[in-house]
Symmetry: C2
Subunit: 197 residues, 2 copies
């Protein structure tokens, strides 16, 4: 219906997560309605990110500097490496401000269904870090899903004979969580892992 | 948390309709994960649209040619002008394929609350078309909202003495509509506008 250039842009935009054809159309119309204020700055920002942002060769984070700002930060806890699925999870932990060590991004989770084995993930570099930096605590901050737990178990097995300790995030009732609305799995886990107060 | 370039892009993206900070973050990470396949083509498509798409001076549609493809199409019904709120509504009517006349995009609706009066909309050009092209049917395809109906009434008042006929889309039960789920206003309108079969 619209010009091929417009249809092409709408099609590309609608492939982004959380966007569909209708919201992509609305986004394009909104951009065209404010060319100077919205469209030009967005295209400039995209070009800038495309040209400057790269994957950190040490941890897998995305940043303009290489190694990334976190890996270059000497004030962080040298003996902690937090293992995360992807950069989104790394950013979530950084936003919370609870952790001041380094990271290791796996780039996904083991999944037999999706055909993702250890070779598809950044697993070997983690073993190398654990080998060459003795007494490191490796903190598994992986999702509490089947894939997340499979991956954690696999890593735990392989890390057992290396000179490091391995820990994992606690499971239980989330803050503000109503017991009545919790799933059985979480309740069961919270009971099992209960502690004296 | 992330590089300033990334934060800037996420902030700009999250201003688009239907996107928020979380979905903007996911979109940026998805783009960076597929730079060559997704990111580069998207930036190219955006630049292309930014450089070539403009508002049609005749009807207000967005297109790469000026006047737009619809206004240049001599096979359309010359005596019909469909008045729509914005380009999204124009595209919706074109997608349906039910209408083969020309358009007039108002660029919004009269709204006392938002301070939008007749001068903020493309209303004068419509009167000029109605004056200079006698026997034109002006079809109001405006939303069935308070603002839409206010705008339609205002236009009807002003078009009364011009050499044109004015019509409006019918109101009633939508196709597939369960009476039990319809609002009272629609039911009332459907009863009022009932017709012999």
């Amino acid at each position: 219906m619209a010009a091929p250039e417009l249809e092409h842009l709408i099609k590309l935009l609608s492939k982004l997560p959380t966007l569909g054809p209708r919201s992509a159309r609305r986004a394009v119309l909104s951009l065209l309605a404010q060319k100077e204020k919205q469209f030009v700055p967005l295209v400039d920002a995209m070009k800038q990110v495309l040209d400057t942002v790269q994957t950190c060769p040490v941890c897998g984070n995305l940043d303009t500097s290489s190694p990334c700002t976190i890996c270059q930060d000497l004030n962080r806890q040298k003996t902690q490496i937090c293992v995360v699925r992807d950069v989104a999870d790394l950013w979530a932990i950084e936003r919370s401000g609870v952790y001041r060590g380094y990271y290791h991004v796996l780039g996904g989770l083991l999944s037999a269904l999706d055909g993702i084995g250890p070779d598809e993930l950044q697993i070997e570099p983690l073993f190398q870090k654990a080998t060459h930096q003795p007494d490191t605590e490796i903190i598994m901050a992986l999702p509490a899903t089947v894939e997340g737990q499979t991956t954690a178990h696999y890593l735990l097995d392989r890390l057992e004979n290396l000179p490091c300790t391995v820990s994992t995030l606690s499971r239980g009732v989330p803050v503000g969580g109503e017991l009545d609305y919790l799933d059985d799995g979480t309740l069961q886990m919270a009971f099992k892992a209960r502690r004296k107060i």
